[in-house]
Amino acid sequence: MTPLMSISFRPALLVLAVMLAGTPAFAQVDLTGIWRNFNHEDWMERGGGSDPVDYLGIPLNDDGRERALSYNYSLLAQPEHQCGLNTPFYGFLDPFGNNIWTEYDEVTGRIIAYKIGAWLDKDIVTIWMDGRPHPSKDSFHPYSGFTTGEWQGDTLTTHTTHMKDGFLRRNAVSSSDQATMTMHITRHGDLLTMTALVEDPVYLAEPYVLSHSWKLDPTLTMPAVPTPCEPIAELPRMDKPGVVPHYLPGQNPFVNELTQMYNLPLIAVLGGPETRYPEFRQKLKDYVPPPICVRYCCGPNADGLNCIIDGSGRPQP
């Protein structure tokens, strides 16, 4: 080192080192932390779960509707289905929060990925930020799919491919393994809003768009990895080879349940792209609500309200 370098430039080097040491490496906004889910929308869906045939607001095509109507909940009791994990879209349906952290390149310090933590039945979602390409379309589809991301201003926009066939709603309205998902993740102070846009050439007539917000909560603890799961034969009849619980076309016993409970017309209950636009209310002009709510009437934050919070029909103190 020359004397000039040692005397005049060392302060500058120190300044540079100070600045680089703490700069968030190429990230626009810090998304990391634990984000609490308040479940202030679709509480029943996120809590007890939606009714078996509730496709309200989902832009299903005919195949998607038939696929959903064929679903029998007993399928979940089969050992081969007990330990499966949901697709990354499930983060928009579950009642849990988001645990987000970063992974750095140990040499360059660059952020190479964001991780959205797992829970009981969802896998870690890795959002690759290092520019790697998506695999070929014939590559293996893991539970977490394959996701890349890029910053657009202060919004992290991600693109997910290679998902498995999975749920768009917890009553088994499904997307296919050809579905893709775009997410926009934006932070406003201590709020984090994610918008998912799922496109599926097999089961959806239009993209399915869902937005949801979480709030930063450093006091919350969340697991980072999926809970260990060991499949067991819960029901002997489900453990026999060749048994696949299902409903044949026209035989789903729950198809009229929402019509009976909420007076909703079947044309709305079975979903479709037209059902989610304002003009669909023209087909609901004769709608008369039930006289009073008798199930899942309050929640969350229902403590002390003496309200019906489940399907029992009884108020809870």
Binding site: E41, L191, R281
Partner: protein
């Protein structure tokens, strides 16, 4: 031995201090966004003007139709709110000129509607809904309410936030809109009489996303703070898709049912 000079703080301490200050500033900004001080219309980092349609993917059963009396699911109501809502009578509201109680600023964006967004002037963004024929005015700059009379849509103060990446790089490309609304008449968060009080405060963040297909979406993050009727701020997010024109714009009056 250059170490002697290295240990002398006088030469480099000011520079390091300045660097630390700069670092602290930029790091703080990384967790938020910087308000814009230029003229609001010209400074808009995103173009929200045009026609938009709400796409009802969430809470369909509580938004597309009026839910049953006593159905308060998803809203963190207080016992006081439940008492008011349990006494809801749509016939009374319909007959007393209170048909628009579910169309105030805390509720109107959740109504199935189309939006027409225009600039009323250089400092005022106008949001109109065809459902309920309501108008919200978002005031930028140093605007202050000229009156203290509460109203259905209240007084809304708006400011742009430029994304960190856009600052200092010519015309801004990304950003969002923050709107705070106060001075409201009491009304309903939901058409079945879930109340909000005159002290409710609505905070909104408007974001604009453009897909590869060219489709544009407004995503609206909203919190409603009302200690009388909400146990915690009600936090929601919903979306509107851009429409090519106003051909589907269909004004209709408020309805109490």
């Amino acid at each position: 031995m250059t170490g002697r000079r290295w240990r002398r703080p006088v030469a480099w301490l000011p520079a390091a201090t300045a660097a630390l200050a700069l670092f602290s500033f930029t790091t703080a900004q990384a967790e938020g966004q910087t308000p814009v001080v230029a003229k609001p219309r010209a400074a808009a980092p995103i173009d929200l003007t045009g026609y938009w349609v709400s796409v009802i993917s969430q809470d369909w059963r509580w938004r597309m139709v009026t839910p049953a009396k006593g159905d308060y699911a998803s809203i963190p109501i207080t016992a006081a709110a439940k008492k008011v809502a349990d006494a809801w009578d749509p016939a009374r509201d319909g007959g007393t000129g209170a048909r628009c109680k579910a169309y105030g600023a805390p509720a109107i964006m959740r109504v199935p509607t189309r939006l027409r967004i225009t600039w009323q002037d250089e400092n005022t963004l106008k949001i109109e809904t065809d459902n309920g024929t309501q108008t919200r005015l978002f005031h930028f700059g140093a605007w202050t309410p000229g009156h203290a009379v509460p109203s259905l849509q209240g007084d809304s103060i708006a400011q742009w936030h430029l994304s960190r990446a856009a600052r200092g790089q010519g015309a801004p490309k990304y950003g969002s809109l923050q709107v705070t609304t106060k001075n409201l008449l009491p009304g309903y968060l939901r058409k079945n009489g879930v109340p909000y009080s005159e002290n409710a405060v609505v905070t909104e963040y408007w974001d604009l996303y453009t897909e590869k297909s060219g489709d544009q979406w407004i995503v609206l993050t909203s919190t409603i703070d009302d200690p009388l009727y909400l146990q915690v701020p009600w936090l929601t997010a919903l979306q509107f898709r851009r429409e090519p024109d106003g051909s589907k714009w269909t004004p209709e009056p408020c309805s109490a049912r």
